[in-house]
Amino acid sequence: MSHVATDMSGETGGLRRLGRVTAAMWRLGASEALAYRAAMLVWILTTTFPLVSLALWHSLAGGGAIGGYGRAEFTAYFLAAFVIRQMTASWVVWDLAAQIASGDLSTLLMRPVHPLLHHLMSNLAALPVRMMLAVPLGLVVLIFVGDVEADAGLHLLLAPAAVLMAWLLNVSVQIAVACLAFWVTSSASLFELWLGLYMVLSGYAVPTGLFPAGLAAVVRYLPFHAALGFPVELTIGRLSGPEIAAGFALQLLWLAVFGALALWLWRRGLRVYGAVGA
């Protein structure tokens, strides 16, 4: 099945149309996010985990720096982790897996745009609402805690790129896992496996730099770290030039791996998709 409409009159017309459709899907996603803002707030509260971690490590570091992190550095780390987690959040896996299982995907397949674009836009469009709820929360915590230490330098210019890559990586992984729903019934619970590892290995609960040296070296090569730990450490300025380059390279590598996997599974999956009426 071809998702790009066949009635496109030439390349430029198609692009303009795609732009219009994308904008419409953005509006749809944004109003959805606004409509369910209570649920959104709860989600954000659920992800305040780094803020409590902040309080915890802040007090543990009272007796001196732990593994290169003093109190102010912990504040910077966990605040950045909180905000970047918000910015890179995605929930494609739950929606897409449910649509595949229930057959609702058929509706999306009928539309003259790629179904995955619909999901990407619905995730992106929620970003402003998420930020409006999350940033004040972060600021309150910052005022509450007081001391923060982060290096404001040119590396900040690279941070948006790292965050974007992290988001794309998250989305790719989620699409790949969701596409397993074409074959198995409980792909969303498989994702919980990923999420559990992510919580521990991404630097979400504790900076990976604090792991025992040998373990840290391995963990920092994994996709989990590329999806959170790297952008966070980049943002607060803990990385040297070569480390930044290596971090981006790893992000690219994992994005290529999971992006390809997601697309492959999607194509193979559509062939076996057997919803009612498909």
Binding site: V42, G196, L197, L210
Partner: protein
């Protein structure tokens, strides 16, 4: 079901009646769980794995600090055991019931629960269980025993008693939170993620309450009494829990349950079933 039974509605019933009711629901859940033996792996064993993975931050802290706010490594094992026990019980008893009841509220099928001749809140809280998660609770018990053996301390009968008391108080507090979330789901749809919120908060019960200071310390002692759930039982076993703390903790849990019950009765009045 006889007519007088129905007529009694949600009136007072003997404790024996409720024990039989809970027993019956438990038996059904166990039978269902035994049919799906894969659940032993996907729920039970995986639950244990998650618990172990979640220990990572605590391990990191121990490695860098040796003692965490006065807790030695083996004392932290006892604490982790208490956490694993509570978390397993939450997953086995509270979470499935909450999810099922929220589904009822959302779909309007709570009618069928309300019509039954027993207290609606009790019915909601026993509507589903996930027995395989008890594997995790068992793992917690083993951790506690191993930790106590390594420390070389035999808890006195009174210590065990107060640990049990604190554990029960902690579970009551968790139930109270569950009920408050149920109340909230009468008003807003799409609140399933609130049970995730409890889970996320519960994760901080792995840490000794002493690591939290000021505002958070107050919250975790009186509002979301994580301390009551894990730190106090562990301290009781280690023989350093004061009597006054026990009394405060019991009062906190009872207070939370009372608030939850009042909120529930108010929320129930606002329930509009699927058809009305």
């Amino acid at each position: 079901m006889t007519a007088p039974d129905l007529a009694a509605g949600t009136g007072a019933r003997s404790p024996g009646y409720y024990l039989r009711l809970i027993g019956g629901q438990l038996r059904m859940s166990v039978l269902a769980a035994l049919q799906y033996r894969l659940g032993f792996w996907t729920e039970g064993v995986l639950g244990v794995v998650w618990s172990a993975l979640g220990m990572a931050p605590l391990l990191v802290a121990v490695e860098h600090l040796e003692t965490v706010e006065g807790w030695t490594a083996w004392e932290l094992v006892v604490l982790t055991g208490c956490f694993t026990l509570v978390s397993g019980l939450f997953g086995a008893l509270i979470q499935p019931a909450l999810n099922e009841s929220m589904n009822h509220i959302r779909r309007g099928t709570l009618d069928y629960v309300l019509l039954r001749p027993a207290d609606a809140l009790v019915l909601c809280l026993v509507t589903a269980f996930a027995p395989w998660r008890l594997v995790e609770a068992l793992g917690g018990l083993i951790l506690i025993v191993v930790g106590m053996i390594e420390i070389g301390r035999v808890p006195a009968a009174l210590d065990i008693l107060s640990a049990l008391g604190m554990g029960v108080a902690g579970m009551v507090a968790l139930y109270a939170f569950g009920v408050m979330i149920l109340c909230a789901s009468f008003r807003a749809v799409q609140l399933q993620n609130l049970t995730f919120l409890i889970e996320a908060i519960l994760d901080f019960a792995r840490w000794p309450a002493q690591v939290f200071r000021g505002f958070l310390r107050m919250v975790f002692t009186f509002v979301v009494p994580l301390a009551v759930m894990t730190t106090y039982p562990a301290e009781a076993l280690l023989g350093r829990l004061e009597g006054s703390t026990v009394v405060t903790a019991l009062a906190t849990s009872a207070g939370l349950m009372l608030v939850a019950r009042v909120l529930w009765l108010r929320a129930l009045r606002g329930y509009t079933s699927a058809s009305s």
